[in-house]
Symmetry: C2
Subunit: 351 residues, 2 copies
């Protein structure tokens, strides 16, 4: 827990004074006051984060973490576990949706094996942080040991540091792991204190019957494993996943470095819930990319107090929503930094 605690202690509140100063600048730009709506709110938030009224985005990262889940044995997913491994190869070759969208917005993909079943041989660009070949089924016992939970978070922290060293000024979160809406529903239910039934959806497309089985599996697992609601690491160990722990680590590591994090859909939001549980200041560094169709996502967003930037009816994951949202955040930074003021442009202000 040493690295984790060190990061948690280094997290600083954002500079609220910069919110006001950024708004002052926004009000001097050649447009009616407030007329750029949410772009202005984003620009202010980025100003407060970066301690400047002219926030900039240089390099952009999407950290895409993959892991497998023992709980898929319980028939909670529409796809076989093998797909995680196959999709990692697809990511490495650049053929998946997140590759296309990251190229579109100019973000670099950091592809991380957090715990995929099977061994990869010389896959270019794949970062090896494998904790184990998939979690244990939490329908039978804990998903992982406490040591593994800590290890997965540590890996995420180190990836965030690498992004910072590489010159990234914003990190989007992405994930791939067949079955990972199941741990995400479990985590969301525990942290937001909402009924499992309300936070459990159809994932990549299971039937209503399978969804009921999924609810029952989660319910049983929580009763049996008894995660400590106050201890995020215990929740992760009992009902989490390696990629979820890794992403929680990315959030902690990024925020400790002062970087904003763009949460994608339901699974990455569950990871963010774990991080916020450890230090609530983290909330102020998060942007929520889009509204997932998973029913638990709304509860998780309410807990974070964030409105998603996009609502495109997407439910793919991989960081696809985060990539699109990064472009909107970059646009907002350019607005506040590049637009002319009324004075500079000789434009009359309102009556």
């Amino acid at each position: 827990m040493e690295l984790i605690n060190e990061c948690l202690q280094r997290i600083k509140p954002v500079d609220e004074k910069l919110v006001e100063k950024a708004q002052e600048r926004l009000d001097q730009l050649t447009k009616p006051m407030g007329s750029l709506g949410r772009l202005e709110l984003i620009a202010r938030k980025m100003g407060a984060l970066q301690h400047t009224i002219t926030p900039q985005i240089n390099k952009k990262a999407v950290v895409l973490m993959a892991g497998d889940h023992g709980v898929t044995n319980e028939g909670v997913s529409a796809y076989p576990s093998d797909v995680t491994y196959q999709m990692v190869l697809n990511f490495a070759r650049g053929g998946a949706a997140i590759n296309v969208l990251s190229r579109h917005v100019g973000a670099d993909v950091y592809l991380v094996d957090m715990g995929v079943k099977g061994q990869f041989k010389d896959v270019p660009g794949l970062i090896d942080c494998k904790v184990a070949e998939g979690t244990a089924s939490f329908a039978i016992g804990p998903a992982m040991t406490r040591e593994q939970a800590v290890q997965s978070i540590n890996h995420g922290i180190n990836i965030a540091r690498k992004c910072k060293e590489d010159g990234c000024s914003i990190i989007g979160l992405g994930e791939m792991g067949i079955g990972n809406t199941t741990p995400s529903s479990a985590i969301t239910s525990i942290i937001t204190n909402k009924p499992i039934l309300d936070v459990t959806g159809k994932g990549t497309g299971i039937t209503e019957e399978s969804r009921r089985r999924k609810v029952e599996v989660i319910s049983r697992s929580i009763d049996m494993n008894k995660p400590d609601r106050k201890d995020a690491v215990d929740i992760l160990a009992k009902v989490g996943g390696f990629e979820i722990g890794g992403l929680a680590g990315v959030v902690i590591g990024a925020v400790a470095e002062g970087l904003p994090v763009v949460v994608d859909g339901f699974i990455t939001t569950a990871a963010a819930l774990l991080a916020v549980k450890m230090n609530s200041t983290i909330r102020d560094y998060l942007f929520c990319a889009h509204m997932s169709v998973e029913p638990g996502h709304q509860y998780a967003l309410n807990y974070l107090g964030e409105n998603p930037l996009l609502d495109m009816n997407m439910r793919l994951g991989e960081g696809t929503g985060a990539a699109l949202a990064i472009s909107l955040i970059e646009a907002s930074c350019k607005i506040i930094s590049e637009m002319a003021t009324f004075g500079e442009a000789n434009v009359s202000e309102s009556f």
Copy 2:
């Protein structure tokens, strides 16, 4: 009316078969079926428009048209008319929000003087299509003659043709004209058959008292000028504006060339209503960029049968929403054209 009629007759229905074929391709891509939500719908629509399952966006245009409005004499705007002229200079120098956002998404701005008060001298990049130095106040008589209305539409058609010649594959609409929510509310009320009170908002930020005056001015103007509800050119002449006519022409000209058009906020949607009134097939070529905070916008969108892509609480105009939406449409084209299929990537399909 010769040029207009020629264009209206050349407009072809989109290829509905391509919608199916595009969906077939989308379902073979390495993602759960339908999981990219609205990006998939956009990709299908672009496929049908471009008659291909791999639609492409090459050059992107934002056509930004400016004009002044005699009705500002009635105190319907928070800004003086001079601001239109001043903002055109700001656009030409690249300091406005639309310049920043167009650069961000890689679109070229076509800046057009449709009828700004005052004369411009050697403004680089400004396209001169000035019909007159502002419309007449439609609180007193028609905003313009029928000849001027036709002339403004013709100018728009020619700009769309220029965009096509320049290699543009999509056109976003933008506008600048102090007072132009007033004619837009009038047009929207007439075409959608909704009460003036319901479609009239606070524009760039007037008081509730001024809003009531605005409603009263529009009501009086329609009673006096008696626009023929069935004749879009007559509506434009009686209660429209030069930039609104120009933008209606851009829509007609673009669609005649088979190009999709991205409508921005309330004013450009009013222009699109005029175009659709002349040929309802045009609907299938439109994308609606964002939900404006102007109350009339929802009614106009309902009439077009379109859901906006973004909801960022924006009310600036200039094409700012259209620029952001163009990037989402381009992303959708890249998804269907660049992603790997299950077969290509050796990924298992769902159970």
